[in-house]
C-alpha cells in the first residue's frame, strides 16, 4: 500500500464511505460479461458443489451437484458448465480481423470477459482448468467432448489473467479495490459484500455500519469458493445425507443469489466510471491472444503441460514483469489520481514551467553535429528526489524523452532529447506539467535461449510434452 492509499483509508473512515482511488476505469468492461460464482465442497481441492453463471442479471443459471463426492456427478457438472462457458468464449473467438499494422496479425473483434467474485474464484478456475484439460473423450473414463475444451479455455484465461492489465478474467474484489479505497483492512477487503457496503452504503448508513451487517454470513453468504461452515453443518450436510434434490437446489440458490446481486451491482458501479484511454489498447492485446489461442486449439495444438519448461517459465516471468510495469505506468499516465499516488512516493513531480529555451543546440558527447536540445525550467513545491541524468516522461507529451539536468532548491531543469517532430509542441511558460520516471513502454525483455538450447543449470533441453493416458485418466476421488 502507498501513503496515499493509507491516507484514503483514514479518510474513508472519517467520511463514512469509500474514497475513489481512480478517476477513470482502468479495465475494459465488456457489454456482455459472464458472471461466474463457483462454490466448492469444503475439504476438497476442486470438487464443485454449485455455481451460478450467466451473462445478464436476469439470466442466472444455477448448477448444482447432488452428491459432490460422486465422481460421475462432478463430470456431469463440468459438462453442464462447459455447455455454457465454451460457446460463450467460442462466439468471440470465431470472429477475427486482420490488423492494419505493418506486420499484419489476426485478432478477434471482441473478447469474452468472465467475472468471479474474489481471488479465491480465480484460483478455483485454475484448478478446474487443471483437472479437466487432460481428460480423454473416449476410452475407460471418457468425458463429454466439451469438458477438456472447457479446461483448455479456463487454463488459457487464468494464465492471461496473471498479466496485469488483461481483462478477460477478473476478480471483482481486486477490481473494486483498484478503484476505491474502503475503511476495511486488507484481510477484510476481500469480502465483496463488505467492500460494496463501503462503496455504496444504504441511505443514512455509514460504510462501517453497513459492512458490519454485510459480513454476517446469514445475510451475505460467503462469495465462494468456500462456503460458510455453519451452512455446511446445519443445511448442506442433512440435505446430502438424506437426498432431497429440490430442497438442496433451493438452499444452494439461497447461498448464491445474494452474491449474484452484488456482482451485478458492482458491474453497474464500474460502468458509471469513464474508460481510461489506454484500456482499449490493453483489450486489443487480449483480443490478439484470444485469436492466437483459438488457432492453436483449432490446429490440434496440445494443452499446456503440468509444468512450464525452464525457458518458457523465464519468458513468462519476464512477460509478467513487463506487463506489470507498463500497466502501472499507463494507469498513472491516464489518471491524475493514480499519478498522485506516485507523486506522494516521490516517483513523479508536478510544477509550473518558468522558462523554455527552445533554440538551444549542443553537440552531444561523442557526436560531431550540433543538435537541438531544448531546456525547460520548472518551479515545483513537490520534493524532487531524482538524480541528474534520470530519464523522465510526461503524460502530456508521452513521446518526448527528457533527462533531468539539475535540481536547485525548488527549480528543476530538464533537457528534451527526443520526440521533437514537426507537430510536437514544447512545454510553454506558465503551463502546469508533470514528469515521472514511469514508462508505459515497459522494461526491456531479456534475451532467452531457444528451448532446445536450455542450459544444463536449468535441466537441459526438456523432453517434448506428450499427454499420457495417466494424465487423461487421473482418478478424481
Amino acid at each position: 500500500m502507498s501513503l496515499l492509499r493509507s491516507f484514503l483509508t483514514v479518510r474513508a473512515v472519517r467520511e463514512g464511505r469509500a474514497q475513489p482511488a481512480a478517476t477513470v476505469r482502468h479495465a475494459h468492461l465488456s457489454a456482455e460479461p459472464l458472471v461466474f460464482i463457483p462454490l466448492r465442497l469444503a475439504g476438497e481441492a476442486a470438487a464443485p458443489l454449485a455455481a451460478m453463471v450467466g451473462t445478464g442479471r436476469a439470466d442466472a443459471r444455477l448448477l448444482g451437484v447432488a452428491n459432490p463426492r460422486s465422481r460421475d456427478q462432478r463430470f456431469t457438472f463440468m459438462a453442464e458448465l462447459a455447455e455454457i462457458i465454451v460457446p460463450y468464449i467460442q462466439k468471440y473467438a470465431a470472429q477475427v480481423e486482420i490488423s492494419d499494422t505493418k506486420s499484419a496479425y489476426e485478432r478477434c473483434l471482441d473478447a469474452p470477459q468472465i467475472l468471479v467474485p474474489n481471488p479465491g474464484g480465480l484460483a478455483f478456475i485454475r484448478l478446474i482448468g487443471r483437472s479437466t484439460r487432460f481428460r480423454a473423450t473416449e476410452g475407460p473414463h471418457a468425458v463429454a467432448p466439451q469438458v477438456p475444451l472447457l479446461g483448455r479455455w479456463l487454463t488459457f484465461l487464468h494464465e492471461r489473467s496473471e498479466f496485469a492489465g488483461s481483462a478477460m478474467l477478473l476478480a471483482m474484489t481486486d477490481l473494486l479495490a483498484e478503484h476505491w479505497v474502503t475503511g476495511l483492512s486488507g484481510p477484510e477487503n476481500v469480502n465483496l459484500a463488505g467492500q460494496l457496503a463501503w462503496i455504496d452504503p444504504p441511505d443514512g448508513m455509514t460504510g462501517q455500519d453497513a459492512a458490519l451487517i454485510a459480513e454476517d454470513p446469514l445475510r451475505s453468504p460467503p462469495a465462494g469458493p468456500d462456503t460458510d461452515p455453519g451452512f455446511d453443518r446445519h443445511v448442506l450436510k442433512p440435505l446430502i445425507d438424506a437426498p432431497s434434490p429440490a430442497r438442496l437446489h433451493e438452499a444452494l440458490r439461497g447461498q448464491l443469489e445474494p452474491t449474484w446481486e452484488l456482482m451485478w451491482r458492482a458491474v453497474d458501479l464500474l460502468r458509471a466510471v469513464p474508460d481510461a484511454d489506454s484500456a482499449e489498447g490493453r483489450w486489443e492485446r487480449d483480443r490478439t491472444a484470444l485469436a492466437r489461442q483459438n488457432t492453436w486449439i483449432a490446429e490440434g495444438g496440445l494443452p499446456p503441460g503440468r509444468w512450464d519448461s525452464a525457458v518458457a517459465a523465464a519468458r513468462r516471468l519476464a512477460g509478467l514483469e513487463g506487463a506489470q510495469q507498463s500497466y502501472e505506468a499507463s494507469k498513472a499516465f491516464d489518471d491524475p489520481l493514480v499519478m498522485a499516488e506516485h507523486r506522494a512516493e516521490g516517483a513523479a513531480f508536478t510544477g509550473r514551467v518558468i522558462t523554455v529555451d527552445a533554440d538551444r543546440k549542443i553537440i552531444p558527447p561523442g557526436k560531431k553535429r550540433l543538435v537541438a536540445r531544448p531546456l525547460v525550467t520548472i518551479g515545483t513545491s513537490d520534493p524532487v528526489r531524482f538524480a541528474p541524468g534520470k530519464k523522465l516522461l510526461s503524460p502530456a507529451r508521452p513521446k518526448q524523452g527528457t533527462v533531468l539536468v539539475s535540481v536547485d532548491a525548488d527549480i528543476v531543469t530538464l533537457q528534451i532529447n527526443s520526440g521533437m517532430t514537426k507537430d510536437a509542441t514544447l512545454p510553454s511558460p506558465g503551463e502546469v506539467v508533470c514528469y515521472t520516471e514511469l514508462d508505459p513502454a515497459g522494461g526491456r525483455r531479456p534475451a532467452l535461449p531457444d528451448v532446445t538450447e536450455t542450459p544444463w543449470t536449468h535441466g537441459g533441453p526438456p523432453p517434448e510434452y506428450v499427454p499420457t493416458d495417466e494424465d487423461a485418466q487421473e482418478a478424481w476421488s
Binding site: 500500500m1 502507498s2 501513503l3 496515499l4 493509507s6 491516507f7 484514503l8 483509508t9 483514514v10 479518510r11 473512515v13 472519517r14 475513489p20 478517476t23 465442497l41 469444503a42 475439504g43 476438497e44 481441492a45 476442486a46 484448478l127 487443471r130 483437472s131 475503511g183 483492512s185 486488507g186 484481510p187 477484510e188 462501517q208 454476517d216 454470513p217 462456503t227 461452515p229 455453519g230 455446511d232 453443518r233 448442506l236 450436510k237 503440468r306 509444468w307 491524475p336 489520481l337 499519478m339 498522485a340 507523486r343 506522494a344 508536478t350 513537490d382 520534493p383 487421473e474 482418478a475 478424481w476 476421488s477
Partner: protein, 369 residues
C-alpha cells in the same frame, strides 16, 4: 487453587492443540490471549455468550475428509507411511514397529498419557531393536507463558537411524508438486510446535534434543486423488520464531500481577448454558489488555469482540498494520483523522508525518478539485 484456576472459575480447562500455540506465537504482544489460553478458557463459548460470532467452525465435510484421509494413510499399520518415508528420506527400511500411545484407555488423564508417551519414546530411543519405530498419538507438553499445556497431537513420531522425524498428515492437496502456500506455512508452524515440544521432552529424558529432526515429513493427498504423497519441510525458521516468541511471552506471573485482584472470567455454567451477566464478563475481559490487529480475525476466536473494542477506542491498528506503519508513530484513529484533515496543531512527535500527510492532502485536493 492457583490464580489461573480462579480466573477460569468452575468450567473445565480446554485442551490446546498446536494450531492454538502457533496462533498465540503469532501475536505475542497480546496479554488477553496469553491469559485466556494459559487458563484454558473456552474462548469460543465465551465470545458467543458475549454476542459476537466466532466464524471459526470447521465444515463437517472438511472434518470428515481429514479423518478419512488420515485413516487411509494410517491403514495397515502405517504401510503407506513407511513407503512414503522410504521415498522422502531415502531409506532402505523394510518394516518398522508401530506403537499407538493413544490406546492407554480413553479416560486416562493427560498426566498418565504423557508419562506413557515418555516411556515409549525413551525405550524407542534407547533400545536398538526399536531402530525403526512409528509412535502414533504421542501426547506432548509445552511450557507456554509460564504454564504447562498439553498438546493433543495429530502426528506420528518416526525414528530411524537414531533420528526422530515428526510426521504431519494434512488433507490439503499437493497438485503438480505445489500446495497452497498459506496452508503449508500453517502446517509448518504447527509442526514446529511439535518438534519444539519433543525436543523439550528429550531434554527431560536426558537424551540429545537434536535427535529430533527439524525436517518434518508432510503427508498430503496427491493431485485430485485420495492417494498420499509426502514431502520434507524444513521448519528451522518456524522453530526459531516460535522459541523467540515463547520467550518473549511475558512470564505469566508478571502478567497476572498486573490484573485486578479477584478477576474472574467464569461463565457460571448452568449445565451447558452460561449465566454470567454479559456486561460483567465483558468488563472483566476488557481489564486484560489486548492487541487487536485484523490478522486476528483468522487466528483467534475472540477477534470480533476485540475488534469491536479496538474500534470503539479508536485504534488505528484496527485498520491494518500497513496503515499503522505508513502513518508511523500515530496510534490513534482520531489523531490520524485530524492529521489527514490538517485540523489542529500536530504534536511535536507527529510533526514529520503531519508534514508528509499535508503534502498528500495538497496533491489529493489538487486532483479531486
Amino acid at each position: 487453587m492457583s490464580r489461573l484456576d480462579a480466573i477460569r472459575g468452575r468450567s473445565l480447562p480446554v485442551d490446546h492443540d498446536a494450531r492454538r500455540i502457533a496462533a498465540l506465537a503469532a501475536n505475542p504482544a497480546c496479554d488477553r490471549r496469553a491469559v485466556l489460553d494459559a487458563a484454558g478458557i473456552d474462548k469460543a463459548k465465551t465470545v458467543e455468550h458475549l454476542g459476537f460470532p466466532t466464524r471459526f467452525g470447521q465444515s463437517p465435510f472438511a472434518v470428515s475428509r481429514t479423518q478419512e484421509f488420515r485413516a487411509t494413510v494410517k491403514a495397515h499399520g502405517g504401510a503407506h507411511i513407511l513407503r512414503l518415508l522410504r521415498e522422502v528420506l531415502g531409506l532402505s527400511v523394510e518394516e518398522a514397529g508401530y506403537h499407538d500411545v493413544g490406546d492407554v484407555g480413553a479416560d486416562a488423564g493427560h498426566g498418565v498419557r504423557y508419562r506413557h508417551t515418555m516411556a515409549v519414546l525413551k525405550s524407542a530411543a534407547e533400545n536398538p531393536a526399536d531402530a525403526a519405530t512409528l509412535v502414533d498419538h504421542p501426547l506432548l507438553k509445552l511450557g507456554v507463558a509460564g504454564y504447562d499445556v498439553y498438546l493433543e497431537p495429530d502426528v506420528i513420531a518416526f525414528q530411524v537411524d537414531r533420528r526422530f522425524h515428526v510426521v504431519a498428515i494434512k488433507s490439503f492437496a499437493i497438485i503438480d508438486g505445489q500446495a497452497d502456500s498459506g496452508k503449508v506455512s500453517a502446517a509448518a508452524r504447527e509442526a514446529a510446535v511439535y518438534v519444539h515440544a519433543m525436543r523439550d521432552l528429550f531434554a527431560q529424558l536426558g537424551l540429545d534434543p537434536e535427535r529430533v529432526s527439524h525436517d518434518v515429513v508432510l503427508i498430503c493427498p496427491k493431485d485430485f486423488m485420495n492417494f498420499p504423497t509426502a514431502c520434507l519441510v524444513d521448519v528451522r525458521l518456524q522453530l526459531e520464531a516460535l522459541k523467540r516468541q515463547l520467550q518473549r511471552l511475558a512470564k505469566i506471573d508478571t502478567l497476572l500481577d498486573r490484573l485486578p485482584p479477584g478477576l474472574s472470567l467464569d461463565l457460571q455454567l448452568d449445565g451447558e448454558t452460561p449465566t454470567r451477566p454479559v456486561p460483567e464478563l465483558s468488563a472483566a475481559l476488557s481489564s486484560i489488555p489486548a492487541r487487536y490487529a485484523p490478522e486476528c480475525l483468522s487466528a483467534c476466536e475472540m477477534a470480533y469482540f476485540c475488534r469491536d473494542e479496538a474500534r470503539a477506542c479508536g485504534s488505528l491498528e484496527a485498520l491494518g498494520r500497513t496503515v499503522r506503519d505508513d502513518l508511523g508513530g500515530v496510534a490513534s484513529l482520531p489523531v490520524a483523522m485530524d492529521l489527514i484533515a490538517g485540523s489542529g496543531v500536530p504534536s511535536a512527535e507527529h510533526a514529520a508525518i503531519a508534514e508528509r500527510l499535508g503534502f498528500v492532502r495538497r496533491i489529493f485536493d489538487e486532483v479531486v478539485a
